[in-house]
Amino acid sequence: MATKTQTLGVNTPATGLSNEEILRYSRHLIMPEVGMDGQLKLKNARVLLIGTGGLGAPLGLYLAAAGVGKLGLVDFDVVDFTNLQRQVTFGTTDVGKHKSEAARARLSNLNPDIEIQSFETQLTSANALELFKDFDIIVDGTDNFPTRYLVNDACILLGKPNVYGSIFRFEGQATVFGMPDGPCYRCLYPEPPPPGLVPSCAEGGVLGVLPGIVGSIQAMETIKLILGAGDSLVGRLLLFDALGMKFRELKLRKNPDCPMCGKNRTIHQLIDYFEFCGVRGEEAPAPDLQVPEMTPRELKARLDRGDDLYILDVREPHEYQICNIKGHLLPLGELPRRVHELDSSREIVAHCRSGKRSAEAVDFLRKAGFRKIHNLKGGILAWSDEVDPSVPKY
């Protein structure tokens, strides 16, 4: 595990602020709800951010700016171009750098008076308790179910608050788990959904501002916990619908039979969360469909030879507008009722963006009696890599 840090932990609580800090935090200090006492609480607080992506961006920026004395940043990922639409901590020159380190550099520039520790590692059952023990509050900004259950369980085992936020396309949720009398993540969601049911951001897309709003709510809840001010979201699930611009609130109750935080706890240590969630990794594909494949190079060679091939593009119309390889557009969802439009006597090559949806299409068509059909291996992404780089990747 690679870490970059100065010193570990706030051993001696700060009892005062320098003149520079007083100037920097003056808009906090003049509010009685924060004041000198509150600003010192912030300075002595230690907050660990799990994930430095979409939710982690506003979290890191606001908590660093607010003067939280010690921030930990956990992320194993590397910045890529598709992150920049929403992960506002990063700039174009950060592409290719490790996120935890790029975020540390950005936040240090924002506030050089705080300690920032980056952990370039994936959070696992083997390292979570060790990582969490030096922090007071854990903020969950991850992007997958196994890590969310892991963060929850580690927080309950250590008795630490877990400031929760999650997003999907236009919808967000936020609450605070892990407080002594409050519910935990398992009280709300005893079991994860089956893998593949809920698409990831990479599959489903996400409006860039949404993590900005939900991450900011998490930052606000974190600061309120530190200050001991206001009404926290403990026991309330905040639902945000960005399209309707509506906030709703549901009551969250502590489940007396919760296997993690209930009276008769049955989980006493961290488990294998990938197994629990039925996946072996966030990007684990659905069980592989065994369908005949054709590589982009083979397809190019066959087309160049003048073979009669019918290219079937099973993506959505808005994706076709981004780029296409002159296939016939018939979205996967419409295939069952439009199957008669296809000629089963012709040789068909189906493709999508990555090859996953078109594998489903090929599987469906084979069951419908199509015999001369192939899946374009790796989809339009592979076509761009191997055949025609002028086709943009998305």
């Binding site: 979409g54 236009f170 699930l237």
Partner: protein
């Protein structure tokens, strides 16, 4: 009783992209049944093959979790709002 059922984003693809539906029902279970009668593709996402509500689907009547009420037998009244609250994990 006329109640409104709120359909969450991940399930809207199975509900003609609608964000809510009006149904007539006496209980929460009937309201969900009315919803899946309108949008048959939703059924398998909400219920198991033997007709039980799936364990990862949370259903609220107004702001209360039906698990702490009479579950699907919880009675509804005119103007109530039934919400399906899905597990979402995105943060990236």
């Amino acid at each position: 009783m006329a109640v409104k059922v709120i359909i969450p984003t991940p399930l809207r693809v199975y509900a003609a992209k609608k964000d809510s539906a009006e149904v007539s029902a006496e209980t929460v279970g009937e309201a969900l049944g009315g919803l899946t009668a309108q949008f048959s593709e939703l059924r398998k996402h909400l219920f198991t093959d033997d007709g039980k509500l799936r364990s990862f689907v949370n259903v609220y009547l107004n702001d209360e979790d039906i698990r702490y009420m009479a579950k699907e037998a919880t009675p509804v009244k005119d103007g109530d709002v039934v919400s399906i609250v899905p597990s979402i994990a995105g943060g990236c």
